[in-house]
């Protein structure tokens, strides 16, 4: 599948904006109907969720449930919502695949991220890591088939939780 780096970068920056602004329904619309969202455990960054405990390993049903939950004020960990600011860099389109899955008509994108998260009372944290995406073109537009956020820290530690969409 063909895509220019500029198109991919614009797509990722647009996604980051939607997430930072908590426009979660619009974010959902960027996903394919079989999308997956994963955050591996810090000590097993290249595991497979079928045999390895992750922090998050959502199929599309649970992604939709996650968004539904995050929009509800009863999602106490994110109410009031965290303020986040995502910095995405080192964007590369690569030929390798994720988890050995050979998926036709997709491109694999790697990017680095720093997500700053702020909550009231001086709580500040930085989530640092890299994204691995599988993007697919649906009706001409890029869509996310897989989105994996791999944290660099040795343990989740003081980050505490991944309660927002990382």
């Amino acid at each position: 599948m063909n895509a220019a780096r500029e198109e991919v970068e614009d797509f990722l920056y647009h996604e980051a904006q939607l997430l930072d602004e908590w426009r979660l329904d619009e974010w959902l619309a960027l996903l394919t109907d079989d999308a997956k969202y994963r955050v591996p455990s810090n000590d097993a960054p290249s595991g497979d969720p079928a045999d390895t405990l992750f922090l998050i390993a959502d199929d599309i049903q649970r992604i939709r449930g996650r968004v539904e939950r995050l929009k509800d004020p009863h999602a106490h960990a994110e109410f009031p919502h965290s303020r986040t600011r995502r910095l995405i860099t080192n964007v590369r389109m690569v030929s390798d695949t994720i988890s050995g899955e050979m998926v036709p008509d997709t491109i694999c994108v790697h990017a680095n991220f720093v997500v700053h998260r702020f909550r009231r009372g001086g709580k500040e944290s930085q989530y640092v890591g890299r994204y691995r995406y599988l993007l697919r073109r649906v009706d001409g537009a890029l869509r996310i088939a897989l989105r994996e956020a791999i944290l660099d820290s040795e343990e989740l530690g003081r980050l505490g939780a991944v309660s927002f969409i990382l």
């Binding site: 000590d43 405990l53 959502d58 649970r62 539904e68 509800d72 994110e78 980050l159 939780a161």
Partner: protein, 422 residues
């Protein structure tokens, strides 16, 4: 510390916990000496080290330790510290090694902990004896059905006596395995909570908070087609459950299952394609254990607290969770998933997926628990104005106590108080 921190007066139906217990640095220091240095503390699971030379390192009660298999295939726990100057002899998370070498001056130890290499040994006088300088072990190390514990108190009672009624609930975990063995699954959730460790003890088996704290999880379950019955009269939970004291400060909530179990109760959230596998697991269970025991294993959920800091949640998945305080308002939590050794790839995938819906830093419930505990800890700043937390739910009842009562919390606190005053 002159004031009593736990008031337990059954005649007046009064049970209170002083909030200084959650904020006072002196209380914290005393806990480290009178509880964590005295009790049996969960160190790890035997399946983490499968072959001679396998090791994992972690921190227990503020001390670096190595859990490993020695040359004779025995599970050992060593203090991760060189006898020479005190550097850690192993700084890797896990692996397999012929032994451990301190990088500072090069002293080396074999798998059995013997000191087997001292550079320039000839410069030591005749008083130097390698045999006295092997890796040290905690005074007591023992295991129960794969769960390895240590005690830093040489006089600690035998582990089996210490575990008391908690053994029954560990047995219910292990009975899920056709091979008679459970194993730790790869992937570790390690996170900090900015709250006092005892708040997590309470939270781990406090079903009273479920309906309000975890409303979004219940909503998700409902929308996914899981039947969530309306609480019947006198209940606040969808299903009946009891709280039980198990002796020595251990306690459990033991609930009729409504939330599904990998072993072995299917719910729609697992997907239609998981149904045959869950039914197969159920059939094996009935055949191996008989109908009554199979129902006991597979139709109830148990949240077990082994005093002071081990939690085994045996329900939506099997979770081992342990936590060590590093300050009055801070704890380091480690959580793992446990599964039957040799379970099918399909069953393992169902187990892990079911784990993540509720549990862990990215689950639909645990982050809200963490938020609740941190909120409590912030509230504790008013402890001088509002010194007491009331803990009397169920206290006037004869006989059975509900999972939403507080008998099990009181059991923990009564023993906490006993240790602290010893």
């Amino acid at each position: 510390m002159n004031e009593r921190l736990v008031v337990n007066d059954p005649d007046r139906l009064d049970f209170r916990v002083h909030r200084a217990a959650m904020v006072d640095p002196e209380v914290f220091e005393r806990e480290m000496r009178h509880i964590f240095d005295v009790c049996w503390i969960y160190a790890g699971h035997e399946s983490e080290v499968r072959a001679p030379g396998d090791f994992v390192t972690r921190s227990l009660c503020g001390r670096p330790v190595i859990l490993c298999r020695d040359g004779a295939n025995r599970v050992r726990v060593f203090l991760n510290v060189c006898r020479h100057r005190g550097a850690m002899v192993c700084r890797e998370r896990s692996g397999n090694a012929k032994g451990f070498t301190c990088f500072y001056h090069g002293w080396s130890y074999d798998r059995d902990g013997n000191l087997d290499g001292v550079p320039g040994e000839s410069s030591y006088p005749s008083s130097f004896d390698r045999r006295e300088l092997g890796l040290a072990q905690p005074p007591r190390v023992d295991s129960y059905r794969g769960f390895v514990f240590v005690s830093f108190d040489p006089q600690a009672m035998p582990l089996a006596d210490y575990l008391a009624g908690a053994k029954e609930y560990i047995d219910l975990v292990v009975d899920q395995s056709p091979t008679g063995e459970m194993e730790l699954i790869r992937g570790t959730q390690e996170y900090t909570i900015r709250a006092n460790w005892k708040l997590l003890v309470e939270n781990s088996f406090d079903d009273y908070h479920l309906m309000s704290t975890h409303k979004t999880w219940l909503d998700y379950m409902k929308k996914s087609g899981v039947a969530i019955p309306k609480p019947t009269k006198g209940h606040v939970m969808p299903a009946h459950g009891v709280g039980r004291a198990l002796g020595n400060g251990h306690a459990v909530i033991d609930n009729e299952n409504f939330r599904g179990r990998p072993v072995a109760k299917w719910i729609p959230i697992y997907g239609e394609d998981a149904k045959p596998e869950i039914e197969r697991i159920r059939a094996e269970l009935v055949q191996r254990l008989g109908d009554a025991r199979a129902r006991r294993v597979a139709d109830t959920n148990r949240n077990l607290v082994v005093f002071p800091n081990l939690v085994v949640n045996d329900g939506s998945s099997v979770t081992i969770r342990t936590f060590h305080p590093t300050a009055p308002d801070r704890m380091e939590v480690t959580a793992w998933a446990l599964g039957p050794k040799g379970e099918s790839a399909k069953a393992r995938a169902i187990r892990l997926d079911s784990f993540l819906t509720f549990y862990g830093p990215g689950g639909f419930a645990t982050p809200d628990d963490v938020e609740a505990l941190e909120s409590v800890q912030q509230g504790m700043a008013t402890w001088r104005e509002i010194p007491w937390s009331v803990m009397t739910r169920g206290m006037a009842k004869e006989g059975e106590q509900l999972n939403t009562d507080e008998l099990h919390l009181r059991e923990f606190w009564v023993h906490w108080d006993r240790y602290m005053r010893a």
